[in-house]
Structures are given as C-alpha cells and as structure tokens.
Symmetry: C2
Subunit: 198 residues, 2 copies
C-alpha cells in the first residue's frame, strides 16, 4: 500500500503501472499479482487503506468543546501527510475515474460520509451543550462542510492556490458567526484561532 502511495506520487494515476508499484517496494510484478489480480483490485484495496488513515486522522481530533472539534475535523480533513508528496493530484485523478469504476465511487463516498457523520455529531453535541444555536441542522451543516472540503481539495490541486487554508478559514467563520449561540465564542486559546489570526 505504501509502495502504491509512492508510485502514485511519482507517476500520477494515468501513468501508474503494476511495474511502477513493484519497483517502489523491490518486489517483482509477479508477486504483486499473487495478491491482486488486477490494478483495479489493488487500487480498491489502496482506497480502503487511505480511508483507514483518513478516519484515524479524524478520530485523533479529541477536543471536548464541540465547536473546537468541528474546526479540528475540518483541519484534519484538509491536512494531508506531510511528506512533500504531490498526492493530491493523484487523488483528484482517482476521483475523476469514479464514473468509470463503481467500486471506486463507493470507496470515495466513504470519505465524505466519515467526515459528515463526525461533523453532524459535533453539531448535535454543540446544540445540546448550548454552544450552537438551537435548531442548527446537523445534516445540513455536515453537507456544507463536506462540500467546502471537497472544493478546497479540488482548487488546491487544479489551481495551485492556498485554497485549503482559505476553506478552513471559511468554516471557522461559519462556526464562529453562524453556528455559535449568542454570547458563545471560540476559546481565545483555540488552535483554530491561533492558526488563522484575523
């Protein structure tokens, strides 16, 4: 799986071959085929592996305050592995393949669902705790946040802009100005606010 990651970073999706993956882990192409009949099967397993890592990052967000947790979830979803690899490009290529590969589509949908579930749970907790306005819709908020995160990923790959930071800021403002109940505020010491001083 790590060899697949490195091969995607190096070659992109369009030029990815079983040989390129084998080269990254000093195995033979035959030994890869022992485990995976086709490149599609290998990539399906790879998407499941990536999803595991994504969920692990989301579940590493352990802020007790629901507002801080929501912001932390967005930061976790927007952050990649800090290894200088241009993986975002390959990830967008994989997304563009989804219409041709139903199995990929399900795997990709799982990323959005995992994020949406946790955002919705933070909203429910925040409303219960009186941190978020009564009546804030968990599913709608989750939909907005997931769409923003998707947009930030696409823009950061396709346009080479600091779109991630700006999407994260948009969500922070959304939390601070629209979700928080009257009189509530993100804590001053909040990492979210330290990262984006305004």
């Amino acid at each position: 799986m790590e060899a697949t990651y490195r091969a995607l970073c190096r070659h992109g999706y369009a030029d990815l071959t079983m040989q390129a993956i084998a080269d990254e882990c000093d195995r033979s192409k035959a030994s890869l085929h022992y485990h995976f009949d086709t490149k599609r099967e290998l990539l399906d397993a790879f998407l499941a592996y990536l999803h595991d890592g994504f969920v692990e990052r989301l579940d590493g967000v352990d802020e007790a305050d629901p507002a801080a947790r929501l912001v932390g979830l967005v930061d976790a979803a927007l952050s990649g592995r800090d290894d200088g690899c241009e993986f975002g490009t390959a990830a967008l290529e994989l997304r563009a393949q989804a219409p041709y590969e139903p199995a990929f589509r399900e795997r990709l949908a799982a990323f959005d669902e995992s994020l949406a579930d946790r955002v919705a749970a933070a909203v429910v907790d925040g409303v219960e705790a009186g941190r978020f306005r009564a009546g804030t819709d968990p599913a709608e908020t989750a939909e907005l946040v997931v769409t923003l995160v998707n947009g930030a990923h696409t823009r950061s790959v396709a346009l080479d802009e600091p779109a991630r930071e700006s999407a994260a800021r948009a969500v922070r403002e959304h939390v601070a100005e629209r979700l928080l109940a009257d009189g509530e505020a993100l804590a001053v010491g909040d990492p979210a606010l330290r990262e984006a001083p305004r």
Copy 2:
C-alpha cells in the same frame, strides 16, 4: 470546439484522440492538425471556448436585487448545458491534468476568477443598497461561494450525488441567514426560493 465537446462526453479525457474529435465533425485528422499542432493546443483553445460560454451564462444573470443576483450566479455556475452529456466527468479529468499542464491551470483559474469577481460585485452592491450587512467582506464571500461551487462539481461527478442542488441550497441559506441585513429577506417570488422550497 463543439466536436471536442462531444468527443469528451463520449470518450472522456483519458481516451480523447484527435481522430475521435475529427470523427465528431466529419473532418479529417489532417484538417484538425492544420489548425492545431497538438492536442494540447486544441484543448487550450477549447478551455477558452468553454470559459466564454461560462461567462455568458454568468452575465445572463440580470437580477437587479443583489441578493437574488448572487443566488442566480451560483445557479448559473452550477448548471451545465442541458444536453444529457456527461461533460462534468471530462471537466474533472481536465482539472486533474492541471498540475501537468500550466496552460490548463491558467484557463481553469479563469473560471473561478470570473465567478469570484461577479460574486464580490454583488456583495459590494448589496452592502451599498443596505440589503447585506454592513462590513460583509466581498472577497471572503466570493472565496466561500467559489469553493462551494468547486466542491459541488467534484462531488456530483465523483459521487453521483445530487450535490449541486445541495450546494446551491447551502449558498441560498448563507445569503438568507448570514449576508442579509436585519429585516431584509429574499423576495417571496424569488426563483431561488421557488426552486428550493423549505
């Protein structure tokens, strides 16, 4: 250009050839090469052509009320041509190529800039007219809207979800609940509200 559009709908970007484009317009491949040395040059011209159509759709939004105009701009940006062609998939593939093709990246950035400029202008007008809250930041609002539109496009292709409508609704709510000044409302007869009764 229309033949390129049809060829992309039929074959997707990965399998697009000059021959496929020639077949769509009953010309010879040689006659295409008379105008465009390479497929890259043809696609560069095609992106400029698409951008012209995009700007035309945006400039067809002529609501006098800045709030209705902002919602109309989002609807125009999210709507494609109503010809049953799966062009969104090819569009996402083109976006994924941007890191490899600097010329494409500039063309793609122009879509976002054209939308952002018009959203920011609607915000300026809305604040001046007292429709939007004083102090609403035009550039920040434009950034949020453009990121949402990008996210909706990506999700609607990759996940086969009704993401467009849900992003449009998120923007409408953003306008109605956060941008509008106290006491202002989207007009009851507003097409935006008719489309998304709540």
